[in-house]
């Protein structure tokens, strides 16, 4: 049984926190994509990225 403290790959989860909870990164209009201002498509992109990161962490968990 792996110990929680040993799960270093869980640190990957910090990335979405920093990326989405620090508005200076994305509070701007340009560049736009398909009419969506930067703030909006950036946050939508992060929905996919957080799913991807969770998937990766899950995969590593399964193989450890």
């Amino acid at each position: 049984m792996s110990n929680h403290a040993g799960k270093r790959w869980y640190w990957l989860f910090l990335i979405p926190f920093v990326a989405t909870l620090w508005p200076p990164f994305y509070a701007s209009y340009r560049p736009t994509v398909a009419g969506f201002p930067f703030m909006y498509w950036y946050l939508i992109l992060w929905i996919f990225l957080v799913a991807l990161i969770s998937g990766i962490v899950y995969w590593i968990d399964l193989h450890n």
């Binding site: 508005p23 703030m39 992060w46 929905i47 799913a51």
Partner: protein
């Protein structure tokens, strides 16, 4: 047994759990309230997106621990866990009462979704007729919750979400097509928002409010009794983790639901009652038959979370108040019967809430509920990792957090949960729940050091470290 009625025997797999937890995340109230906020405030309303982005990593890491220790010790509620972990029925009572208080107005607000839809369709009657559809909806809710427990909302959740996803997909394609595309919608919103003191791009003075509200809401969501019930109904810790990776699809739907606020601006919807923003938008831009379909989806969408919330509140009341203080020798069979009756009372209570008390009080109470439930974080979530904290320190910290959070909300006349914290000559805007939890944590840490130094008894831990990491299936395999 209460585990059968209240947690559906902890047997839900990935598929059902996904719908059940998704039903917690976006409720009929979300469908109405998030676009309403975006309609007036613009970018600030999109705090809901980072909120639902960060909630899943927290869920992935924290909730399987709660699931495993609860399975091991047959805990049905977070307060059950607290009682076992900290050997303190008073601390467990604090967690249970906070959960019940936070849940009641939330159930009531689900009904505003149904009310808004009826009003927009011009179906809202007067006098006793005004409340008749709500009463009928609540009777259905009460009956199916009573007979089937958590299985009832689980099955309805699947139907509800199919209807909601169809609504969202069609609306976010058809409405922009009718209004001239997303670029045009954003452009109109940018021009119109300053009139309501909103903005299309978040203004720097709101950065801290936006981020703290998103982070605080994410932790609060997982501490809500209905989220705990949805989680504990899963069949393994793995099921919860798989769901954390799959649930962001709901965040995507929520983003487009939030965008309905801008679509309403672009469609020229003018209403003082912002809860009508989405229903009026649908009526104006979609064929009548499809608007009707969407309204049905919203109405059914109200019943699923309301049922999960009622069950969660009933579990807390039965396990942590009735069994603890009034019927200490309850048999499992009686316990389930008590929970079913309490479930009925909770549902009737929230019906009274919505019929007898003006809507704005439910919303105020809901604002308070969010910051109250967040004050159980040190006890429940930190408690899943460490027993270093002293039980009396946790109780006093909780009380301090509750009082500070409530006073901040009162100071803002309940109009917003954002409080300007004065530091030196400037003020930082932040979610009152986050200011309160920071004070709560400081008190907990300081008092823990003091109480430990004074050697005040910290009780006996009924759980062991291995309980938090062991998947039951793995034990069988060994």
């Amino acid at each position: 047994m209460i585990e059968e009625w209240g947690l559906a025997g902890r047997r839900f797999g990935t598929f059902v759990t996904w719908f059940l937890l998704g039903g917690d995340l976006y409720t009929a109230y979300t469908f109405i309230a998030v676009p309403a906020l975006v309609y007036g405030a613009g970018a600030f309303g999109f705090f809901a997106v980072p909120y639902t982005i960060v909630v899943f990593p927290i869920m992935y890491v924290v909730m399987p621990r709660l699931w495993r220790v609860s399975k091991q010790h047959s805990y049905v509620t977070a307060a059950d866990f607290v009682r076992g972990r900290f050997d303190s029925s008073l601390l467990a009572l604090a967690v249970a009462i906070t959960g019940i208080l936070a849940t009641m107005p939330y159930i009531a607000l689900q009904l505003t979704g149904i009310q808004a839809v009826l009003q927009a369709m011009g179906l809202a009657g007067t006098g006793i007729l005004k409340d008749l559809p709500l009463i009928i909806a609540f009777i259905i809710l009460a009956a199916y919750t009573y007979t089937s427990g958590l299985r009832a909302p689980a099955l309805t959740a699947i139907l509800k979400d199919i209807l909601i996803y169809i609504t969202v997909i069609v609306a976010c394609i058809a409405i922009p097509a009718a209004l001239g595309g997303y670029g045009h919608i954003f452009h109109v919103a940018e021009t119109a928002l300053p009139a309501t003191k909103g903005s299309l791009i978040l203004s720097p003075k709101l950065y801290s409010a936006f981020a703290t509200l998103a982070l605080g809401s994410a932790f609060a969501l997982l501490l809500y009794p209905h989220a705990v019930t949805g989680t504990l109904g899963a069949k393994s810790g793995r099921t919860i983790q798989r769901n954390a990776a799959l649930l962001p699809l709901y965040s995507l739907a929520l983003t487009f639901i939030a965008l309905f606020g801008y679509m309403a601006i672009a469609a020229g919807i003018h209403t003082k009652d912002t809860s009508l923003v989405v229903p009026l938008l649908f009526l104006k831009t979609l064929p009548t038959w499809f608007a009707g379909f969407a309204f049905g989806a919203i109405a059914i969408g109200a019943l699923v979370p309301a049922a999960i919330m009622a069950i969660a509140a009933a579990n807390l009341f039965t396990r942590n108040i009735v069994r603890e203080y009034f019927a200490t020798n309850e048999t499992p069979r009686n316990e389930a019967q008590v929970a079913k009756i309490v479930g009925l009372i909770v549902i009737l209570g929230s019906l009274v809430f919505i019929v007898a008390i003006p809507l704005k009080f439910s919303i105020y109470f809901q604002t308070l509920g969010g910051l109250w439930i967040l004050q159980t974080l040190p006890t429940v979530m930190f408690g899943l990792y460490t027993r270093w904290f002293h039980r009396w320190a946790l109780l006093i910290g909780w009380l301090v957090g509750m009082v500070i959070g409530t006073l901040m909300a009162v100071a803002e006349s309940f109009k917003t949960s954002i409080y300007p914290l004065a530091i030196g000559h400037s003020a930082i805007l932040g979610y009152a729940g986050v200011w309160a939890i920071l004070a709560n944590i400081v008190v907990v840490v300081v008092l823990t050091l003091i109480f430990n130094a004074l050697k005040i008894s910290n009780g006996k831990d009924h759980t062991s470290a291995v309980d938090y990491v062991t998947e039951p299936a793995e034990k069988i395999a060994q």
